[in-house]
Subunit: 334 residues, 2 copies
DNA sequence: TATTTTAATGTAAGCGCTTACATTGCAGCC
DNA sequence: GGCTGCAATGTAAGCGCTTACATTAAAATA
């Protein structure tokens, strides 16, 4: 592999000059630049990122920590980030934390020790304190889908209260009043907010919240199944089910169908997230769209702006919309 | 950030000694090691990967190029690779190539310029020649899901001929003889092999291959829809559809249902890949399982063995199985 | 043309490590 | 005690760049 030495020898200039043309500095005479460039091409020279990183302050790499590498939630997220970074010629280092506190911390530390210029984190298990601590350690980072008051401007979040609200409201507007709710795990902030939105819609329309129609799941399909089974076994009437996310909705649909209930004829269902699968389900799922990709790319832009001083617009809070598909219908009037 | 200098000063030893304890060399007196370790902890010292990379031959990072960051195909792949690398304390650099020749090449070059110790590639657009060329450029790499004779031992592949074969054979065994086939794009090796497997099964059972029952799609859902529409419009009878992948199968199911045909009662369907979605579909899709995660982790092991000289077992060719679910049934006898 | 100003280029000191080789210390031996 | 032979440790030269500062060449000015 050719080095900068080879280039400056062949081109008859000093290292500094070569470095200048590499970095696109103005202070090089066009003629010199041409000569250097042509030598570089001739030699197939590519600057060593490693050496550049060591010598300069920046590594041009951004650490990305997600919960899972797999699944239709994180895919768009990574891809949103990556696209934006790629345009800016930065490299993302992706790690997964698997929602375990230890692994999340370990992942973050490992990213730091790799000298990332910044971090984009989607973490659930680590505490606010840890993150606050981290923010004092001069490693710039953005939080995706998590809100911490003290570092609000480093947080890119979805208005989950509103999401939960419109999901339930849509059902109320279809005439439903007995509305079951399958919640995500209530130790997660987003799950709480979504549920609060649900309650808000209920309250606003004079419907009282019924504990018996609410089930706490874990965001996985299986808990959607368990939820419907539990709901059915209680014998309470409900004509609509609002779900904390699409996966649980998928489980719910299957289980309802197995119980001889038709969706949406007998039961109306709304999901949340609008993952790929929502569109493959039968019936196609009406759901609250989580603008994941946009938010992810916003996170990348945050870095571009705050770390590399690029001039970009930032937006912190996103507002979700309802995507109407085939899983909802008006309440049957008897 | 504390550097190795701080450590050796505080511990009263030379840099070489500190370096030895960092790298777990034997040649350090236990007492010395302890002292150094305690100083490192006290200072919160973490060696700089960058500097280590520059000084040593290795960066401990492995470039990974996939076609997409998103989708249920690549998720398990990345996660399979990452898990294995993580155990070995290596970092994966993930890039996506989007099946465009230019972007794939660009991605590969960028990975190389980042001094990856090795590359794991899932590429479709670049030519064999390019890859052969690459293999001479002293960058070790493995190919996932692609076979090139000359570098066969760098290829980790699925026996797609067998996959296509068992898919179709399963239908024949259910009594079907009029079997439609929705193929992937035939410029891709795997699509060809799967189709060949289909033909082989047909031939073996004395059924002749009918061009009119075969449709070339592009592996996306929409082409599954288009395929069924085309098939239906031809008016040829078929009682089973074998699909080149699950996505197209998903499209096919919906379209058949819209046409008033029931799956599996009227038409039997088999997919290929066993992506997540297959399990969410209605009916749950019977499909050929692509052991993606295993293959991906094998790719990682290939690197561990061939680049870092670790002692691991390698396997090049995987054989797929059929996963029986609910989308197939015996041919109706009139 | 001599002088000042400015642009272009060069010099060399790091960046934080690894590693071949040199040196030191000490156990074991006669 | 003096010597050999390792094991433990130290020395110092890179690795391939960036960059503050110094120098020189060219352009502008008088």
């Amino acid at each position: 592999m050719a080095t900068i030495y080879d280039v400056c020898r062949e081109a008859g200039v000093s290292m500094a000059t070569v470095s200048r043309v590499i970095n696109g500095s103005e202070r090089v005479r066009p003629k010199t630049r041409e000569r250097v460039v042509s030598v570089m091409e001739q030699l197939g020279y590519k600057p060593s990122h490693i050496a550049q990183s060591l010598a300069s302050k920046f590594t041009n790499s951004i650490g990305i920590q997600v919960s899972e590498l797999t699944g239709s939630f994180y895919g768009p997220m990574m891809s949103g980030i990556d696209e934006e970074l790629h345009k800016a010629n930065k490299q993302g280092l992706i790690t997964s934390g698997r929602s375990s506190e230890e692994r999340e911390k370990h992942g973050i530390e490992s990213l730091i020790s790799r000298q990332c210029d910044a971090l984009i984190l989607h973490v659930e298990a680590v505490s606010d304190e840890y993150l606050l601590e981290l923010s004092k350690r001069n490693v710039p980072f953005v939080l995706l889908n998590r809100y911490i008051e003290e570092i609000a401007d480093q947080c890119i979040v979805l208005d989950d209260l509103h999401g939960g609200y419109i999901a339930t409201k849509s059902q109320i507007e279809l005439g439903h009043t007995d509305i079951a709710y399958i919640s995500g795990p209530l130790w997660k902030g987003d799950a709480i907010q979504r549920l609060n939105g649900h309650k808000k819609a209920l309250k606003e329309h004079g419907i009282s919240f019924d504990e018996d129609l609410c089930f706490e799941g874990d965001y996985f399909k299986e808990s959607g199944i368990a939820a419907v089974e539990s709901l059915l076994s209680k014998g309470k009437h409900f004509s609509a089910v609002v779900c904390g996310n699409d996966e649980m909705a998928a489980g719910a649909i299957v289980t309802l169908r197995n119980a001889g209930l038709s969706v949406p004829r007998d039961i109306s269902i709304v999901g949340y997230d609008d993952i790929d699968v929502a569109n493959y389900l039968y019936p196609r799922l009406t759901t609250v769209k989580y603008p994941l990709k946009e938010m992810a790319s916003m996170a990348a832009r945050w870095v571009l702006k705050n770390v590399y001083n690029q001039d970009v617009r930032l937006e912190n809070k996103f507002v979700p919309d309802l995507i109407h598909r085939d899983s909802c219908s008006e309440r049957k009037v008897h």
